[in-house]
Amino acid sequence: MDSVAQRLSAVGAGAALELRGVTRLFGALAALTDVTITVRPGERRAVLGSNGAGKTTLFNCITGDFPPSSGTIRFFGEDVTHFPPYERIRRGLRRTYQISALFPGLTVQDNVYLACRGVSRGRFSFLRPGQNDALMHAADGLVQAVHLTGVKDQRVAELAHGQQRQLEIALALAGAPRFVLFDEPAAGLSPTERVELVEILTSLPPHIGYIIIEHDMDVALRVVESVTMMHNGRIFKEGLPQEIQSAPEVQELYLGGGHE
């Protein structure tokens, strides 16, 4: 854990993400109730919980896909509670989706190129990228980093599921991400692909922190240094991976039983 401590001290103090009393209602249903979380820059954290615990709603509130009903969200000190999603993304927040949210009519290369373009200038440019376009090269690099170079001119609709999951991650790493939300990145991946995923996550540059929602404890606990447990839209436990793994609530949650 020494390297983790070094890494965190290197990226500085303050909070990357600070949620205060975040509540989200869908009609009478409270998907999130009074959630307060602080994540330091560079910190890597897992959010665990059963289906319907509010994990994905938490992500949607942080990115602004659904604004919170009450509470405040700060991103690197800035109050982004009322910002539209694209303003948060331009400030270095990224996310992936549980069900791949890609552009099936475009090629792999164009998908990644759009991700690179979205967080830089010239989104409305009418000029085609030239052969030495920096973003084109950045996109090439990302495509290679997620092992998709062989299929980069194929339309995304033609990709296998595992390849789509890898592309999903590439889209979230375009530009200069400061904090990433991974929503079940291992869903539907083969054991080999899971090993590759762990490798991609652990080799991210040290200043990039993330929150990962993951049901596969082998993946989740290997790539994080802290864990938050959620249930019924509330946080009920925070701790280190080892503590959480042996906690009775977790045993109950993941090995049968479960509260109704």
Partner: protein
């Protein structure tokens, strides 16, 4: 093995990056059929008489350009707008109002080179404002809002006498004469129309591979993800309406020069829907589709009457033929005539490749 490091180190990929823009960006260059069509269009005045040149081909190119503006919105942006003809009609009215016409009490008498930019500007503003309303909705509601704008404009032109001259419209609209050429004479006008249509066609094809066009296709495929990549989705949609309005406006200017008059009949709800039919029949996945659809439409409109009379039916039933053709094409091919064509080509290619085996996937 760090991801972002890879992004910087991995810079030179000469083979694949070098050929991508040239080949995939301009598919027409390697297509012999496109060259043949281009040559035929250029030498058309040598083969066709004045009737064919204007009533068939110029009219096809004008209607095709209006439908192209719909193809740009629907094919790339996923937004079906029924007001593209209304925008073209608005531009046509503005040329008549600001320029010279037989209705001296209405027309301001500006020279064409002032009236046309004014008309294009106003039409673009009009379409952009309509788009700004429409982008707040999706799917069927976009169709309803744009159709409502089209219908409102039609009834407004019918009832407003101060500017639009009511149901009689504006007649004897002057057409440009300069450099000793009457640009409304058949052959010069055909080339003006051809040049404008080509400009619009290549502009749409070029933009489709530029960041703006790619982003528009991203908005079509997944607007929510586009927002999560840093794009302001609604701003992109409104900008797409602005581009489409300018294209429709250009076609509207040509239309008023073609008929030398503009009246509410030209902007009726039926005509708005004709543009949708043209685009869908031709195919909205590629810019060439609207022109193919327009050619089918104009040929049917012009000759179905004689054909129907010949087989003993009422000539005014030509819309029945168009309707049946529309049904058949939508039933057999959701991407219109070009869809049928592409599938036929693919089946040919597959048969050629079968003995030797398909191309490998790297």
């Amino acid at each position: 093995m760090s991801v972002t490091h890879d992004a910087r180190i991995q810079v030179h990929k000469p083979a694949s990056t070098a050929q991508r823009p040239a080949v995939r960006g301009w598919p027409d260059i390697n297509n012999p059929a496109a060259w043949i069509v281009a040559v035929i269009l250029l030498i058309m005045p040598l083969i066709a008489n004045g009737f064919f040149l204007i009533e068939i081909f110029a009219t096809t190119l004008i209607l095709g350009t209006i439908a192209l503006s719909l193809m740009f919105l629907a094919g790339y942006g996923g937004m079906v707008s029924l007001m593209q003809l209304t925008i073209a009609g608005f531009a046509a009215y503005m040329v008549a109002v600001f320029g010279v016409s037989g209705n001296a009490n209405i027309s301001l008498g500006w020279p064409w080179w002032l009236a046309v930019p004014m008309a294009l500007t106003l039409a673009t503003i009009f379409g952009t404002l309509g788009g700004a309303l429409a982008v707040r909705t999706e799917g069927i509601y976009t169709i309803m809002i744009t159709l409502a704008i089209g219908a409102a404009f039609y009834y407004f032109t019918n009832q407003n006498w101060a500017i639009f001259n009511g149901h009689t419209g504006i007649n004897n609209v002057a057409t440009p004469h300069f450099w000793g050429v009457d640009w409304r004479a058949d052959i010069p006008f055909y080339y003006v129309v051809l040049a404008t249509a080509a400009l619009c066609y290549f502009a749409v094809e070029y933009i489709s591979r530029a960041p703006f066009g790619l982003a528009l296709q991203g908005v079509r495929d997944n607007p929510r993800r586009m927002a999560a990549l840093g794009f302001n989705v609604n701003a992109h949609r409104v900008a797409a309406y602005a581009v489409a309005s300018f294209i429709a406006g250009l076609a509207g200017v040509l239309q008023v020069w073609n008929y030398r008059q503009i009246s509410p009949g030209s902007v009726s709800v039926g005509a708005c829907i004709d543009v949708l039919i043209i685009a869908v029949v031709g195919g909205i996945t590629r810019p060439v589709g609207p022109y193919i659809g327009a050619l089918v439409f104009v040929l049917l409109r012009t000759f179905a009457l004689d054909f129907l009379v010949k087989i003993g039916l009422d000539g005014n039933r030509f819309r029945l033929l168009i309707g049946l053709g529309f049904l058949a094409i939508v039933f057999w091919s959701s991407d219109g005539v070009i869809g049928l064509w592409q599938r036929w080509r693919q089946s040919q290619v597959r048969e050629e490749n079968r003995p030797g085996g398909g191309r490998g996937h790297g």
